[in-house]
């Protein structure tokens, strides 16, 4: 049972722990004042990683060997020197793509000692020494199609989702904003662009089905059934049964299929959760009514869950990394832009509000 939660916010990292009477509360704080854009708890281990975006002073990775008691600065993912004279322009605005990490967007564990890190601008880094050093996945960065990645809400494209196949850690699939779904079978030596069936309707019709322009907001993989992927796309909700090669769109999901976050049950591939918002330029709960949606049958039906969520008008947006399911599949947690945080101990049927006064929540992860 996961009794602890790491919450990365605009102003620091928080541990939320379950106390007496099942009441969850802030148990510890770290890095107060600094944005924590990504956090990772080593499954079953005591290593923790936190990515700090220090603004003026750049991205800094922090690592703890003792479950968060003490932290020290570790290596940050760093781009190699940009070759003299190389043209590398953002396709939207024609400005130079910085060969310099702007934001660590996501962190995942791979094989023992292996870490993957997705950053803005859109690049993937791999560490094989527990974060002592990082290497840019050169094959993906140097693929000429990478220069067509457009980016979405940020100035440059980025990698927000990294799925390491539990059956084979050499098989890694990443989601790019806005640049589609890419997969490697050799730990990054070569990459394939996948994603048949995805649809990006805000682009010209002839482009809408091009896998390269797909605007995935977040992709998750069912650990017990790794071929089942769920995607919250800018356009809506998509599901794949073959590791992301082919997707089908779920339409008419109430109250909206727009959003950023998705979580999947670790053992039941048909159970997934979303936090919808009014699409797409508004981005707050439909009718100011914050709800979580859940399917238990692979997307045929959705429950709209709101017990314990605000009864007054709510304008919370839940970012793509700010919804998580515990490793046993029983508990859920999500945090929002208003600094509110909720936990469910019954798979979303009811919710406990933990705080309404945190800094804006960027990422949420169960420990243990």
């Amino acid at each position: 049972m996961s009794d602890r939660l790491l919450v990365g916010t605009r102003k620091g990292l928080f541990r939320i722990a379950r106390g007496e009477g099942g009441r969850w509360a802030i148990a510890k704080t770290w890095f107060l004042g600094d944005p924590v854009s990504a956090v990772l708890a080593e499954p079953g281990g005591s290593r923790r990683y936190a990515a700090l975006g220090l603004g003026h002073f750049g991205v800094k990775m922090q690592r703890s060997e003792d479950g968060g008691e003490t932290w020290s600065q570790a290596a940050s993912p760093t781009f190699p020197p940009k070759p003299e004279g190389l043209e590398d322009k953002d396709p939207m605005r024609g400005v130079d793509v910085p060969w310099s990490t702007q934001l660590v967007w996501t962190l995942e564990c791979g094989a023992p000692g292996e870490l993957w890190c997705g950053v803005i601008p859109g690049a993937l880094f791999r560490s094989t020494d527990g974060g002592e050093s990082w290497e840019l996945s050169r094959a993906l960065w140097d693929d000429p199609r990478r220069k067509q990645w457009m980016g979405g809400g940020y100035d440059f494209s980025g990698i927000h989702s990294i799925l390491v196949d539990p059956r084979d850690p050499l098989h890694v699939t990443v989601g790019v904003s806005v640049g589609g779904v890419w997969t490697t079978r050799d730990a990054g030596a070569s990459w394939e662009l996948i994603g048949a069936g995805l649809r990006n309707e805000y682009l010209p019709e002839a482009m809408a089905g091009d896998p390269l322009v797909q605007d995935a907001h977040r992709i998750v993989q069912c650990p017990a059934h790794p071929d089942r992927l769920w995607m919250q796309h800018h356009n809506g909700i998509f599901v794949s049964d073959d590791g992301g090669a082919i997707w089908r769109e779920l339409t008419d999901v109430p109250p909206s299929s727009f959003g950023f976050a998705v979580a999947v049950h670790p053992n039941d591939p048909d159970t997934a959760w979303f936090v919808p918002a009014a699409k797409d330029e508004k981005r707050f709960p439909v009718d100011a009514h914050l709800v979580v949606t859940r399917t238990r049958d692979g997307g045929a039906h959705f429950d709209v869950l709101d017990r314990g969520l605000p009864t007054e008008p709510a304008y919370d947006l839940v970012y793509r990394h700010a919804l998580d399911c515990s490793h046993d599949g029983l508990r859920l947690a999500f945090g929002s832009t208003t600094g509110s945080l909720w936990v469910s101990e019954d798979q979303g049927d009811s919710w406990q509000n933990i705080s309404r006064h945190l800094p804006p929540v960027l990422c949420v992860r169960f420990e243990g």
């Binding site: 603004g55 003026h56 002073f57 750049g58 800094k60």
Partner: protein
């Protein structure tokens, strides 16, 4: 040649960086000499390509350096390099 190197106190929270004296004929040479003994400091001041971070300002005496990518601005005996932050964010 000895040049005084000072940092904004805002960095003290992240780095142990008291005022020091460095040698070099350009800002690049002076900072490289400093980074040799203080390698962690590099990533706070410079981006991955070695240019001054967007929101970091480097002054020689009271003048902002001109070459933020190459750091070729000359320095001399008795000059002072000051590393500041251009305030932004919220």
């Amino acid at each position: 040649m000895a040049t005084v190197l000072r940092f904004t106190p805002n960095l003290y929270r992240h780095l142990d960086c008291p005022d020091t004296s460095v040698a070099g004929a350009t800002v690049r040479e002076a900072l490289d000499a400093y980074f040799q003994a203080n390698p962690r400091a590099r990533g706070f001041l410079l981006d991955d390509q070695g240019a001054v971070r967007k929101h970091v300002a480097i002054f020689v005496n009271e003048t902002l350096i001109r070459d933020r990518a190459g750091l070729s601005d000359p320095i001399g005996e008795g000059d002072e390099i000051f590393v500041a932050q251009a305030l932004s964010g919220g």
